[in-house]
Homo-oligomer: 438 residues x 2
């Protein structure tokens, strides 16, 4: 907030806040452009709603534009007028999964890309840019902020965090995470009752969940275990942070089957061996950021169990992308925080910030509270926050109680989704094309 002249600004702000705001903060007048990037979450649209609602409060903001399909669509001038969307629709974004604006996994490649982008920003007089996304997207936001500054184009670019993976550094947790954990915990509790029913034969059930580099999602499901009932599932949790050892795994499965008659395993898609190779990398397919296509950990472990343990039934399920779109079981806390991040981003930009990401900070008190701070995008971009070793159980296949205090508050409350004709009724944007201003 006091980037330009540091301490003097701060002094001015403390003595004459009104003068400060007039002089520095509202000096920039122009349009908002908001876009979404990377994999969607159940609450990414709540952040979008937060941006739209807050943008309407500021006189320095004239138009509210949405960029379709992230940076890739913006390069192609796929820009819509968000202010013309109905209030009902904007309200509906708070319970609609997916990325309402569309998303991309595009990496800005060349000087040309940046130049084209700036051209589009100028054409639409974009002065406030908000990018809702994960690690890669925050890197993009950072680069755009720097490029604009280099070229002397007044732009305030703020990143809004989003990722089910919860692996963004510099933030206590990430909007999207509480909901994916809530959805998977409900899934596992339901699955557990189904498996318990089939009590008369040994069953190993493997649930493959998302998480390429960090095991936050898999670890999150540990909370589905009912308190004090140690034999409740999930019985075995496999994190990317722990090198997979097939023999040890099979031994643990056998141990569990002795006690429980069935064994529910939660496995991260990014499970890796001691050499750091993915246990189940797909064919040699990579996305534009160089990440391998993953999948098949569930089937891999199912095979392994079948071959290693005679007479044991093995089953796997691959929840797939619906886990990050599970709005019918999304966390109200998560949704509220996602909305708040959108609001705060707009206020931060209006107040003169750029090159920052909104981060969440947890209060120190026993009762959960959550506030926001701005963090430098330099410190966020491309970093990965792994699941803390201190929270992994000694047996390496369980999560210890210290994690409970972290995860529980994030999944409280249920987002209410309206049903129509027996099915969830989500909203879609009207997507009215915006007209360039220049």
């Amino acid at each position: 907030m006091f980037a330009k002249r540091g301490k003097i600004d701060k002094l001015v702000y403390q003595i004459y806040p009104k003068f400060f705001r007039k002089t520095y903060m509202e000096e920039l007048i122009g349009n908002v452009l908001v876009a979404q990037s990377g994999g969607p979450t159940a609450v990414i649209n709540a952040s979008l709603a937060g941006v739209i609602d807050e943008a309407l409060n500021h006189d320095c903001i004239e138009e509210i534009y949405g960029g379709l399909n992230g940076i890739e669509g913006i390069l192609n001038e796929q820009i819509i007028d968000l202010a013309s969307e109905s209030q009902q629709t904007v309200r509906g974004l708070r319970y609609t999964p997916g990325s309402a604006l569309g998303t991309c996994r595009y990496k800005l490649k060349s000087e040309q890309d940046y130049a084209k982008l700036l051209e589009v920003f100028k054409k639409y007089n974009v002065r406030f840019f908000f990018y809702i996304g994960g690690n890669d997207s925050q890197d993009t936001t950072n680069k755009i902020a720097k490029y604009a500054e280099d070229k002397g184009y007044a732009l305030r670019a703020i990143g809004i965090p989003k990722t089910v993976d919860n692996d963004l550094p510099m933030t206590d947790h990430c909007p999207g995470y509480g909901s994916v954990v809530k959805y998977l915990c409900a899934t596992i509790r339901q699955l557990a009752l189904d498996h318990e029913s089939m009590g008369n034969h040994d069953l190993v059930s493997i649930v493959e969940v998302m998480g390429r580099d960090a095991g936050w999602i898999a670890a999150g499901t540990s909370i589905a275990k009912r308190r004090g009932e140690l034999q409740d599932p999930p019985h075995i949790i496999l994190l990317p942070e722990v090198a997979f050892n097939a023999e040890y795994f099979i031994a643990q499965v056998q141990e569990c089957l002795k006690k429980n008659k069935y064994c529910l395993v939660v496995a991260s898609e990014g499970l890796s061996d001691a050499n750091g190779n993915y246990v189940a990398a797909g064919e040699n397919v990579q996305d534009s950021f160089g990440h391998s296509k993953l999948g098949g950990v569930g089937e891999y472990l199912e095979d392994l169990v079948s071959k290693s343990l005679a007479g044991v039934k093995a089953r796997s399920s691959k929840i797939g992308h619906v886990q990050r779109a599970g709005a019918i079981c999304a966390s109200q806390t998560d949704s509220n925080e996602a909305y708040m991040c959108g609001q705060v981003a707009v206020r931060a930009a209006v107040e003169g910030n750029s090159g920052k990401m909104v981060a969440l900070v947890r209060g120190d008190t026993d009762k959960y509270s959550c506030e926001t701070v701005l963090t430098d995008l330099d410190q966020v971009a491309n970093g990965v926050k792994h699941f803390p070793e201190a929270w992994i159980g000694e047996d390496k296949i369980s999560i210890n109680y210290q994690f409970n205090k972290y995860i529980l508050p994030l999944m409280q409350g249920e987002v209410q989704v309206p049903y129509e004709n027996g099915m969830p009724a989500f909203v879609r944007l009207a997507k009215v094309k915006a007209e360039p201003q220049a």
Copy 2:
């Protein structure tokens, strides 16, 4: 109801119903034994609650026993006292998935099995037997009824329908079906929004759903398509009733990708080729009824698409057993009907029926209504009701509008599941062991 002497009984009943009831219907005094069999559903416990609640209303019923793990557990005298369960728990059965009593896939094999069973029935003075299950279980109920009759043991055995597959003959639909369809439709609508977001590359998403012999479940998801929006998913539905043709399938996928940029395919696990062989039969594993272990249709189709269409991303998800345990998105109508089937079964037995199954009949009026009738187990046992050909679209990959009227009423209303600590709080039976009476 008038099995013994036919027309004379009926006449007696019409003239002196009170006398009739006293003489014939309540002549049998003894205990109830209820058990569950086969794969669980989201509402199978609602039927159990219906049996327990109704049994308390009849003086001729002394004890209410539950058999654990179906017929297999009963053979081992795993019998619990259901009357001692708390009201809270019995109430909770109406939103708890899985089979609260446990289930089995055991087929009564020998004369010895039957003899042992009858011995247990005698020991616990079981005079009213209720078996909640699908095709195989109804066959078992039928055989038990006949065996008891042969041996001159007064027993009234009634089948209560249950199966997510909806393939039981002689009933308009089956408790469990409305809920699995509702859960999958919510899943697909959420998945659709996720896929729509990723708009800038061709994506084929395959969702593998249950359904070994009949495509009711896969077909049910067709209702997730929003009305009048033909390009809404699911775009391609693959039923076991339609022989799979890889070339035709790939052509349809290409057609769809031209229009939609993504193609959502719902595939039944029991998808078969023109020779009737499963497209994705697992290793040569069979269950005790001789059914093949299935799985992998999703992965199979994912491979097929990847190999056939260059540059197209293919993904699959295998929802697995949670689809039949999806209580957080279960149909209230389905749950109510499941409960009613339990109640009606008890009344039918008290009134003197045996060797029957409770079946659901739909009213003729435009407004949906549902009543019950009793149908002979002989006509139900081991039959399979396929998805009607008349409801399959001409292209063989869609379901036509005639099906809408059938499916929509079955998925109306949402079962309310209580949440505790951010997670669904289901109940478990206390399972107090019953004492034999003899």
